[in-house]
Every structure is written in structure tokens, then in C-alpha cells.
């Protein structure tokens, strides 16, 4: 086995006195798609923020491409190829769609993604290029947020709550972009609430419950019942791990 692209080892993290993650261990191989599943407040977004470097873990290490990046700030990790689509999209509201995408290229990384390719992959964005980001629908905003991260040519793309608050039809449109993104060899970690969609796209699934990973495995080997049980913390599996 080659070294995984991302290895999170025994990570504790939180905000002030509040601890959100407890001894998290996760590995993601190059080219893989890992889906994080869990209830609101389980710590999925916190985990993504810790991987992206927006949040420093209080314990444990984050290794990326064989290198310990635990001490590296978010700026450096972005330049090394970790791209985060943050919770709530966080576009630059006073900039146009195209300008948002152009700022995404500030990582200075070379790769397949440029304006033309983003517009081709995300048709939701293409018709809106001159519009201010503040005046987009939720789905369009999400598409721009994904496009902006792609413009940085990430090797590891972290997608937080892609479908949150969006109509199923819009989410379908966003997900059609995923094969094109993966075709470039990009490794993806995504947070998704919809189990059907998770099983459809994920290579592996990790269930997060109250800041711990309670179940992880290849999507093909897991059943919906197992994942649902882990989601709500009702399954035998969970009881076996929690004291």
C-alpha cells in the first residue's frame, strides 16, 4: 500500500472550552471519494476545517502527501493543494461570479482547471459570470463556491454540506459535476446528509457521531441500516465502541 494522501491521526479539536472532535482517525487514498455522514453538530465541518488548517487540533497530527502539516496554516495548505468549499459557501458578495472564480486561482497552482473548464463543468455558473455573487440563488452560489475551489487546482477537495438548503433538482445538477472533477484525479472528502446520494457517489463512508468516528468502511460493504444506526447512535456497533 502506498501512503494515503491524507491521514488524520488521533485528532482532538474544538472551539475554546468546547471540544468537538475526540481522537479522530481517518485516511483517504489518492483519487478516493470519502463521504462523511453524521447528524448536525456531529463534528463533520470541524473535521474539514481541521484538515484545511482553519482550525488547529489540540492533539494529534494531520499528514498530507506524506508530510506532517499539523503546524502549517491554512494559507500554506491551500498552496499545497487542499481546497475547502466552506460551510455556508462564503462567496465574496461584492465580486462578480467570474471575479470570485479568478480569486480562487490565487493558490498559484497549475493544473487542469481554468475559467473555461469550470464553466463547462458547472453550467449553473456559466450564464451568471457577470452577476454579483450576492445576487445568486443558493444553488448558483454553491456552484460558484465549488468552481472557486477548483480554480485553485486542488489535489484534495473538501466539500462541506453541498446540498444544504437546496432543492433536490439543483443538488442533482451540482452532483453531475462530480465525475468530471474526479476524472482529473482529484481526491474528494464530502459531507452529505442524504444517504441515497452518499451511497451513489462514495468509495468509502465514515460516520461521525458526537465527535467520534463510529463506523467506517467501503460503501459497497456497508448497508443503509448500519449507517443509519451509526448516524443516530442506536446501533450495536456504536454501543460496542462507546464506553
Amino acid at each position: 500500500m502506498s501512503t494515503p494522501l491524507l491521514a488524520v491521526q488521533s485528532v482532538d479539536a474544538g472551539y475554546g472550552d468546547f471540544q468537538a472532535l475526540f481522537g479522530i482517525d481517518v485516511e483517504v487514498a489518492e483519487g478516493e471519494l470519502l463521504a462523511l455522514v453524521g447528524a448536525n453538530g456531529a463534528g463533520k465541518s470541524t473535521l474539514l476545517r481541521t484538515i484545511a488548517g482553519s482550525l488547529k487540533p489540540s492533539r494529534g497530527t494531520v499528514r498530507y502527501a506524506g508530510e506532517d502539516v499539523t503546524g502549517a496554516p491554512d494559507i500554506q495548505r491551500a498552496r499545497k493543494g487542499i481546497g475547502l468549499v466552506p460551510e455556508g459557501r462564503r462567496l465574496f458578495p461584492s465580486l462578480t461570479v467570474q471575479e470570485n472564480l479568478q480569486v480562487g486561482a490565487a493558490t498559484g497552482r497549475q493544473g487542469p482547471w481554468d475559467l473555461a473548464k469550470v464553466y463547462e463543468t458547472l453550467p449553473l455558473v456559466a450564464d451568471r459570470r457577470a452577476r454579483k455573487a450576492a445576487r445568486l440563488s443558493g444553488g448558483e452560489q454553491q456552484a460558484v463556491a465549488i468552481g472557486r475551489a477548483l480554480m485553485g487546482n486542488p489535489r484534495l477537495l473538501l466539500l462541506d454540506e453541498v446540498s444544504l438548503g437546496l432543492a433536490p433538482l439543483v443538488v442533482d445538477q451540482l452532483y453531475t459535476a462530480l465525475p468530471g472533477i474526479r476524472a482529473e484525479g482529484t481526491t474528494v472528502v464530502l459531507v452529505e446528509q442524504d444517504l441515497g446520494r452518499t451511497f451513489a457517489v462514495a468509495d468509502r463512508i465514515a460516520c461521525v457521531l458526537e465527535g467520534r468516528i463510529v463506523l467506517t468502511g467501503p460503501a459497497a460493504d456497508l448497508t443503509r441500516e448500519q449507517v443509519t444506526a451509526a448516524y443516530f447512535g442506536t446501533g450495536a456497533h456504536t454501543e460496542a465502541i462507546s464506553p
Binding site: 482553519s54 491554512d74 494559507i75 491551500a78 466552506p86 462564503r90 480569486v103 498559484g108
Partner: protein, 290 residues
């Protein structure tokens, strides 16, 4: 002098206000710092020009460059050594730093150069004028300052909207945490912003000093008011609004002076207050985004 002439003179004066206000607006937009030292930095710019011309024999036009570089470099040092750190401490800390600077500058100037005016003359250019017709004449020098202001604002506008570093500055103004996810060091953006702001205010200060024929240490207390009034009349976040704001303030002062020599400052403040009461977002201000 006819009223038309009064209005034209006011508009020409407004160019300097607009140039001084542009940096104030930029720093507030990007870092949310109300720079209380902005007027004193303007005066410092005038001093640098005056002193290098009088004591080091630098040709007067060249003092503009010297002053912009010197005050711009000071901006880099202030940002890196003080404001960056203060910004980590809360909203109020950076403003207190700028307040401190606004106390230090005039007092140092008094200690070193006394209260006497430091002269800076542009020679015959200061009195040369174009006769337009009737009794309307436009001074060459005020015209040049207005053209310089338009040029500075145009370059700034093009920089912010047509270049990648400019886009990054605007993105940082929108969300300083998210630009970091794009590999952008927001502190470098702050440093660049402050250098631009200090450099342009130094230019405004040199032109102001040339227009007045000299500069005294405490004038910054007045010019900082003009800069704030210009930004608020024009509206935050719009450089053309800043130009218009400067002109409105200039015309108000000029008309006030025509009515009575005591009135120019009061007239300017009254217009400013009226704008604040009836159109608090300013003439061209964009609505603040959530």
C-alpha cells in the same frame, strides 16, 4: 468673483479632498480601521516634501515622489509592526493605534521644526491661470491637482477592478478568512492596502502644501475632518463617490468663504451633517451587504 467662479474653485479644491479621502476609504473598506491619523499623515507628506526641497535641494516636482515613497514605506512599517497585531486584539485597538499616531506626528513635527510654516513653493505655476471667459479664470495649479486626483482615482479603480491583486484586495475586504483558503496571506493584502493609502495621502499632502504655499504641524486635525467628511458625503466603497464627495465639500467651503470669510469650515460641516441626516449612506454609497 461670480458664483460660477466660486463653484469652479470649490470643485478644483475638492480634488485634493478626494485624493486624501481615497486612502481613508480603502483602509476602512479592507480592514475596517477608521484611520484617525490620516490627516496627520497628509501633513507629514507635506513636511517630507518641504524639508527635502529646502534642506536637501531636491527639485520640487521630485519631492512628490520622495514623499510618497517615504510615507508609503512608513505605512508598511506601521501595518506590520502595529496594526496587524492590534487587529488581533479587537475592533477598537487599531483605531487607538491610529489615534496614538495622530498625537505623535504633530508633536514630533513641532519639536523638530517648531510651529513655523515650512514653505513649499511651485514658483510661477502657483499664480498662473487660464482665462476662460467673463471673469472666470482657472488656476493652473488647482487644475493640475484636480487632474491628478482624477488620475489617482482612475488608477486605483482600474487596479481594484481589472487586476488580480486588486480583485484579491476586494475579496479580502469581503471575507478575510476565506481568502486564506485560496492561499492568500491577508496580512500581505493589508500591508499593500496601507502602503497605497499612505502613498496617496502623501501625494494629497504635498499638493495641499504646494497650494497653501507651506504647511504647519497641527493642520492634520483639520484635514482629517475633511477626509472623513468627503468619504461620508460621497459614500463608502465608491471611488467616484469619493471624488463627488470631495467636490461637494470643496464647493460648500468655497461658497461659504464667498459669503463670509468666517464661514468656509462651517459651511462644509453643515453640508456634511445634512448628508448624514438625509442620506447616511452617502451620495454614491452602496448598500451594505449582509
Amino acid at each position: 468673483m461670480t458664483w460660477l467662479s466660486v463653484v469652479v474653485q470649490g470643485m478644483l479644491l475638492g480634488g485634493i479632498f478626494a485624493m486624501a479621502a481615497a486612502g481613508l476609504s480603502l483602509v476602512f473598506g479592507v480592514m475596517r480601521i477608521a484611520n484617525l491619523a490620516h490627516g496627520d499623515l497628509m501633513i507629514l507628506g507635506g513636511y517630507v516634501a518641504s524639508v527635502t526641497a529646502a534642506h536637501y535641494g531636491v527639485p520640487v516636482p521630485l519631492t512628490i515622489v520622495v514623499s510618497m515613497v517615504a510615507v508609503g514605506a512608513l505605512g508598511y512599517l506601521v501595518q506590520r509592526s502595529m496594526l496587524d497585531r492590534a487587529m488581533g486584539l479587537g475592533e477598537l485597538a487599531p483605531m487607538l493605534v491610529t489615534f496614538g499616531i495622530s498625537v505623535v506626528i504633530p508633536n514630533v513635527l513641532v519639536q523638530v521644526f517648531s510651529n513655523d510654516a515650512q514653505p513649499l513653493s511651485v514658483g510661477s505655476l502657483g499664480t498662473a491661470s487660464i482665462h476662460v471667459g467673463g471673469d472666470l479664470s482657472i488656476g493652473w495649479f488647482p487644475l493640475i491637482t484636480l487632474l491628478a486626483a482624477v488620475a489617482v482615482l482612475t488608477v486605483l479603480q482600474l487596479f481594484l477592478h481589472r487586476t488580480q491583486p486588486g480583485r484579491i484586495v476586494r475579496a479580502t475586504a469581503d471575507d478575510r478568512a476565506v481568502v486564506r483558503l485560496m492561499g492568500v496571506d491577508n496580512r500581505r493584502v493589508y500591508a499593500l492596502t496601507t502602503v497605497i493609502a499612505f502613498g496617496t495621502v502623501a501625494l494629497a499632502g504635498v499638493l495641499y502644501t504646494m497650494r497653501q504655499g507651506g504647511v504647519t504641524p497641527y493642520e492634520g486635525q483639520l484635514t482629517v475632518l475633511f477626509a472623513f467628511e468627503t468619504v461620508i458625503i460621497g459614500g463608502l466603497g465608491s471611488l467616484w463617490g469619493t471624488l463627488a464627495g470631495g467636490m461637494v465639500l470643496g464647493v460648500a467651503q468655497s461658497v461659504g468663504a464667498q459669503i463670509s470669510p468666517d464661514l468656509p469650515l462651517l459651511a462644509g460641516h453643515v453640508v456634511f451633517l445634512l448628508v448624514l441626516v438625509f442620506r447616511p449612506q452617502g451620495m454614491f454609497g452602496r448598500s451594505v451587504l449582509a
